[in-house]
Symmetry: none
Amino acid sequence: MNILITEDEKDIRNLLTISLEEKGYTVFPAKNGRAAWEIIKAQEIHLAILDVMMPELDGFNLLRRIREISTLPVIFLTARTEDMDKILGLGLGADDYLAKPFSMNELIARVAAQLRRNHEYLNPKEPEALSLQYGDLRIDKAACSAYCKDRLLELHPKEYKLLAFLMENPERVFTKKQLYNAVWGDDYFYDDNTIMVHISHLRNKIEGDTQNPEYIKTIRGLGYKLHKIGGSR
Amino acid sequence: MNILITEDEKDIRNLLTISLEEKGYTVFPAKNGRAAWEIIKAQEIHLAILDVMMPELDGFNLLRRIREISTLPVIFLTARTEDMDKILGLGLGADDYLAKPFSMNELIARVAAQLRRNHEYLNPKEPEALSLQYGDLRIDKAACSAYCKDRLLELHPKEYKLLAFLMENPERVFTKKQLYNAVWGDDYFYDDNTIMVHISHLRNKIEGDTQNPEYIKTIRGLGYKLHKIGGSR
DNA sequence: TCTTTAGTTTAAATTTACCTTAAATCAGGA
DNA sequence: TCCTGATTTAAGGTAAATTTAAACTAAAGA
């Protein structure tokens, strides 16, 4: 992700550059509006951070030019409160602003949020279902609760996530590694035993006869799958 | 979401079709106004993209027909600037327009925006209730006071807001971050501990036995939810 | 049948998340 | 400015969730 920083004070500019680079962004620093404009024409910029007060072409006028050619998210930095009203009130098309002095964490959070928002805006996705059902099992995502035959299951968080994941992909066999990666969110580390223990706990809460599980089937040598009651294997 | 594309130039039509299908929309392409009209009568279309200049039935006249039977959002494509004024000026009921040549991102952004806008239009939120009740708890928004079993609770402002928010969404689980964002109004910064302290204070004022809360339930690893007395968990 | 491998279960150890209290800080009114 | 009450910070304590470890059981192959 390429971020343009336009800020005339050298110290702030460097601080911003270093902080954002640490987070893995590619940063293009500019010391005034004119330099920024050149960068925007030459590079594909995904987000711009602009100071309002700058020599050579101030933030407002730079934004106006940017908006003629792009809808990229723009975050303003300003020292004066009055500027803020202007930023929003004039409908210049700024996406967010931050008053100086600001905390670096705050800025980084807002940068991430704007990039995410813009990404979602350009890539609309179907809203996820709030309620899942498969056979006797049902999950209410809003309430974060799971039911079996309308009986509320008291699941621990990891158990709940594990069940939800299986219910989103019923009848599909997952290896223990895949389950770990999906539920724990860790792409590299995994532990078979941990999964097995959790599966065991889940079965205790769901299955009538844990010796012959009906819902969570073991596929020897492969992994587990969620099965709908009514057929065999 | 079903999108109708009406465009006589084959290359542009294909480009639009492919780009929108990539984003997960179902696309119905038509090469002239007459074909478009047949599709509209046969399918449930959620948004239409119309070229102004077309053989057989031009964009303006097609829109006029559409408006006789539907209020679906319509985006116009046009090569000539004069057309734009006409589109808006004549009050034909177009929702947006784009001048050729346009960027695909721009178009996709506008499609998403129109669909969202229309969705909000069709699903207006109901006016908020002035009095909320859930189980033994009651809130009088006009007086900003909360009651438990008709006993007035002496809540601090933040506590009141927190309770009110939970009462507006009972049984739904909120993370501490969500609660902070909703009650404090800050979209980026949040602090888990602050929420926990406030929940603790609230429980002191509402719950009989703070060790085993009945109203504000903790969902470990997730957050909190408001629960109606009468069941377990 | 014996051996090996894979899976299950249980209990203990560890870690993490949460609760509570008190002290510090902040904001608004006198 | 000081005072007051509301809110936040900080720290210590506690309980629940998760992981580890080990003993046990079932299945597949020789």
